[in-house]
């Protein structure tokens, strides 16, 4: 019962908003939603002190389904919104979430820089290796020979992107993979990710039953990583480079201090700022 909270004051269900999701029945994102509520309950977070920011995509619809402060931003920009919020309001627990297209394609630059900046927040990317919301185009994590999209007849013929490797190279302080097929295990990973200071990246496998029905087989492929989380980036690099995309659990835990400027006034009156202008 490691990490157990003696008695959560709110049940997971009490973190839900009551708005009915528009996702396809069977979509992995439902399970991710559940895991997030379980993690928040375990961490005893007060809903008013949590903010979840997302971009655009099926997965990015998440905030509206939670009873915390939410921001459903534009495509690809969840991380900068979350960054601005956390830096100016360090008292809040800030989560960002979205899809593989949102986070790795249109928002790819922000992903790198969020890892590097290491603001204390948790970023959950629900990876279904497809653009669900726009009817199933290839994403940066799609295999080169997946040929079901009209936009890329015969497949993309481009190698996929390895988000965990990029996260490590860019300086993320916590790197883990979880799967919607195991919502309880995912809840554990999320609890650890939220607790860990700095930028935590959770690669969340979340099948798209509509455009990638074959991903239902993921449940047979995922398995706990046979390793303990390492604090050694070199060990982590090797681990992530040889990872087959289906190992679950916390893979890297860094110890870089989080970026958080001190927000403390040192002047009595604003007129002190004007001194430099006076001749």
């Amino acid at each position: 019962m490691e990490n157990a909270n003696s008695c959560p004051s709110l049940k997971p269900n009490e973190y839900k908003s009551g708005t009915k999701p528009v996702w396809c029945p069977g979509c992995g994102d439902y399970s991710v939603l559940l895991s997030i509520t379980k993690a928040m309950s375990e961490l005893n977070l007060e809903p008013e002190n949590v903010a979840l920011v997302s971009g655009i995509g099926c997965s990015s619809r998440l905030p509206a389904y939670l009873n915390v402060y939410g921001f459903h931003a534009v495509h690809g920009r969840a991380l900068p919104v979350a960054t601005g919020l956390k830096v100016s309001r360090p008292d809040l627990t800030v989560l960002a979430a979205g899809g593989d297209g949102d986070g790795f394609s249109i928002g790819g630059n922000h992903f790198m820089h969020a890892c590097r900046r290491n603001v204390d927040m948790t970023y959950i990317v629900m990876d279904n290796q497809v653009y669900g919301m726009t009817k199933g185009q290839a994403s940066p994590t799609t295999d080169p020979d997946w040929d079901k999209s009209k936009l890329t007849p015969g497949g993309t013929k481009i190698n996929p992107y390895y988000p965990l490797v990029i996260a490590l190279a860019s300086g993320a302080n916590f790197i883990a993979r979880a799967s919607s097929t195991d919502p309880n295990g995912a809840a554990k990973v999320l609890v650890d990710a939220i607790r860990h200071p700095g930028f935590s990246f959770v690669h969340m496998l979340s099948p798209c039953v509509t455009f990638r029905p074959e991903q239902k087989e993921w449940k047979k492929m995922v398995r706990p990583a046979p390793v303990e989380p390492t604090t050694d980036a070199a060990v982590a690099a090797k681990r992530l480079m040889t990872d087959d995309n289906f190992f679950l659990g916390t893979l890297y835990k860094g110890n870089r201090p989080a970026y958080q400027p001190e927000l403390k006034s040192t002047v009595e009156h604003l007129s002190e700022l004007e001194q430099g202008f006076i001749l």
Binding site: P25, S31, T134, K135, T181, N184
Partner: protein, 172 residues
């Protein structure tokens, strides 16, 4: 919790309650999903299941009255979201599912629950746990039979039940 040994009666009650209430929530969610996708037949059965499950939960709640139940973190439960043992998995829902599918899903859940309680009954050395688990297993089996009976009212789904001639929607 399949392979677990139960330490005492409060632990069994706590685990059973979590399992049942998660099932209530899942049926509620499934009913919502079916309403959203305009599948009223499936929605109706899920609502009914939710209601039934709520009543059963209340029974266990009453049994727990006055007892201090331990808090067990989610990751101490080994449920698989892709299959329906003990609690229904999210992945089992389909927007075109028929009442037959709906009841089959619930039957799997009850079967899983009954098996679990059987195992607990078999493995435990504590008489009060054994007694309780026995009762729960019997109840789950009975409900399972009832569901099977109910399912007979509905036709077996035809091959191609999930074929949709229209493409999915483009959004956002």
């Amino acid at each position: 919790m399949t392979a677990l040994r139960i330490a005492n009666k409060p632990e069994l009650l706590a685990r059973t309650l979590t399992m049942l209430s998660e099932t209530v929530e899942r049926y509620d969610l499934f009913a919502d999903q079916m309403e959203v996708v305009n599948n009223p037949q499936a929605a109706e059965i899920f609502r009914w299941l939710e209601q039934k499950q709520r009543e059963r939960t209340q029974v266990v709640q009453d049994l727990s009255e006055g007892l201090a139940l331990p808090h067990i973190p989610p990751w101490d439960y080994h449920w698989d979201d892709a299959i329906n043992i003990e609690v229904p998995g999210h992945a089992s829902a389909h927007y075109m599912m028929t009442p037959y599918h709906t009841l089959t899903l619930a039957i799997d859940v009850e079967q899983g629950a009954a098996d679990l309680f059987d195992n607990i009954e078999r493995d435990t050395e504590l008489p009060e746990v054994r007694k309780l688990a026995h009762g729960f297993a019997r109840e789950a089996n009975a409900f399972c039979d009832y569901l099977k009976q109910k399912r007979e009212q509905y036709p077996l789904p035809q091959a191609g039940w999930d074929e949709d001639e229209d493409p999915p929607q483009f959004l956002e």
